[in-house]
């Protein structure tokens, strides 16, 4: 799905990656880990083409519009006068575009997504009245309705309590089982082990790919079980 070929990545004069080769397979559930500042967000942005590479190239097996990205700093204007339902509706853009009407199928999908993340009771509420956690779940729902084949999530669980985290990760797991490729930034090793199939660990300007069952944060690199280092 995504192939890194001799990729070097710099940000603010710091070298984040040096000459990396990596293949991200379709249908995998990748947990992206690494210390703060190691370059997790930058890697995601590079995959999307929003960050320029210092060398090498990234071969993308997905098209524009077939991915869904949840950035670390959400850009949704919470002061915008819309309801939760309308905000989730924006995720269906590719279905209705500029002029078509929405039909019952679309509304069904929206309802499902809202139920899934647990904010169906807030459907008609204005987005400026949501708490941080509720907002994050809204963004999740918006991502779900897009029905993309590649999901990229950058620190999506920061504002959310334990129970909600479980709900959301369960949803991602279900999506994974449907064949969706997922790359998600995680800090909690336990969550990595429970949900992800593989771990991408960034350290020393390299990405270490290993089987998630054996994830041990920094030690991932040193284990004989690791699959690959670029």
């Amino acid at each position: 799905m995504i192939k890194f070929e001799n990729v070097s990545l710099h940000r603010s004069q710091r070298c984040l990656l040096k000459h990396c080769d990596l293949t991200i397979e379709q249908g995998g559930f990748y947990a992206l880990t690494g210390d703060n500042g190691s370059g997790k967000s930058s890697v995601l942005k590079a995959v999307l083409g929003e960050l320029g590479l210092s060398s090498g190239s990234i071969v993308r097996g997905f098209s524009h519009g077939d991915y869904s990205y949840l950035p670390q700093k959400n850009q949704l204007d919470t002061q915008f006068p819309m309801s939760v339902e309308q905000a989730v509706m924006t995720g269906l853009w590719s279905q209705y575009g500029a002029v078509s009407a929405l039909d019952s199928k679309h509304f069904e999908r929206i309802n499902q997504a809202l139920h899934g993340v647990g904010i169906a009771h807030l459907k008609r509420v204005s987005i400026n009245q949501l708490s941080g956690g509720q907002l994050q779940r809204l963004l999740f729902a918006r991502m779900l309705v897009q029905d993309a084949s590649l999901l990229l999530l950058d620190e999506p669980l920061a504002a959310i309590d334990q129970k909600a985290q479980t709900i959301l990760l369960d949803i991602l797991k279900a999506k994974h089982q449907q064949g969706v490729t997922i790359i998600i930034t995680l800090h909690d090793v336990g969550l990595v082990k429970r949900y992800a199939s593989q771990q991408l660990h960034i350290s020393d300007q390299k990405i270490h790919l290993c089987n998630a069952d054996f994830a041990h944060s920094d030690d991932c690199c040193r284990l004989p079980m690791r699959l690959k280092t670029c």
Binding site: L48, H64, G65, Y67, S68, Y69, P71, Q75, L76, D77, F80, P81, M82, S83, A87, T90, W93, S94, G97, A98, V99, S126, N128, R142
Partner: protein, 291 residues
């Protein structure tokens, strides 16, 4: 009572034209004003009023006091400044208000320079700017055209604008054309302002665009109802302003804008969405419940 409201319009053609002109302006004003508010660009109206000067001055330089030449020149200058500030803001990741401020000031200075080269002290913009009480046929046609253009533009790109305003980063991931709606909006903004200045003067053109949207924000948290409220408020302000100008000898543009100002203050106090007195009231109720 009804007679008091209707009779000035029955007796005088200029009053009918003024009301009609206000109605046309309210259509565009509410559409553009609400999105200006959402994009946090409400002050740009005034900036653009100054930015059009070098265009008008160039028109004056080559064609003398020819209103068409100056209006077209002003439109070109305004669009250039708006586009430049939009592009600069987006590409260099700065705020649009600072880029607009910078470009309009340069533009204004350039305009003053061009005028001084031709020499003389014609009040250029005064010739260019009209009055609500003096809407001749040509000016009304301009306002018609302006409204039609605006409505067409918004019909085409309403959803684009909503997406772009609410979450532009998200929208960029969904559509390759996400950025264009902003430029179309800027074009409509400048056209609306230039037509508005020419027909009605700066105070009216900017006032009827910015104030109704600000008022609507205090009464609604859905964009659809904001648009409707803005339109209704604009028309009411125009009606009351014209009647005040008629019965109390107030200058018409100022009267209209001042009525809108009164509505604004009332909304700040009593608005259901964030009005001061409402929040005080709910705080008081909460205290009662707790104690």
């Amino acid at each position: 009572m009804i007679d008091l409201i209707i009779s000035p319009f029955v007796e005088f053609e200029f009053m009918q034209r003024a009301l009609f002109g206000c109605l046309l302006l309210s259509i565009n004003g509410s559409l553009i004003g609400v999105f200006l508010l959402l994009k946090r660009m409400s002050l740009s109206g005034d900036a653009i009023a100054h930015a059009i000067l070098p265009g008008a001055a160039t028109g004056y330089f080559f064609a003398g006091l020819n209103v068409l030449a100056m209006t077209v020149g002003g439109l070109i200058a305004g669009v250039l400044v708006a586009f430049l500030s939009g592009i600069t803001a987006r590409k260099t990741n700065t705020n649009e208000d600072s880029t607009l401020a910078s470009y309009y000031l340069c533009s204004l200075a350039l305009g003053v320079l061009i005028i001084s080269m031709k020499g003389g002290s014609v009040d250029l913009l005064h010739v260019l700017f009209g009055s609500i009480l003096a809407l001749d046929n040509d000016t009304l046609y301009l306002l018609y055209f302006n409204s039609a253009l605006c409505l067409l533009g918004f019909c085409c790109c309403y959803r684009f604008l909503v997406m772009d305003c609410s979450d532009s980063v998200f929208f960029k991931g969904l559509s390759r054309y996400s950025g264009y709606s902003h430029y179309l909006f800027l074009f409509l903004l400048v056209f609306n302002l230039v037509a508005g200045f020419h027909a009605l003067g700066t105070l009216m053109a900017v006032g009827v665009t910015v104030l109704p949207a600000a008022i609507a924000k205090y009464w609604s948290n859905r964009i659809e109802s904001m648009l409707l409220i803005a339109f209704v408020v604009a028309v009411m302000g125009a009606l009351l302003g014209l009647l005040s100008s008629y019965y109390y000898r107030l200058p018409s543009s100022s009267a209209i804008v001042l009525w809108l100002g009164v509505f604004f203050l009332l909304s700040v106090l009593l608005g259901s969405q964030g009005g001061v007195l409402r929040s005080l009231k709910s705080k008081a109720e909460l205290n009662e419940v707790l104690s």
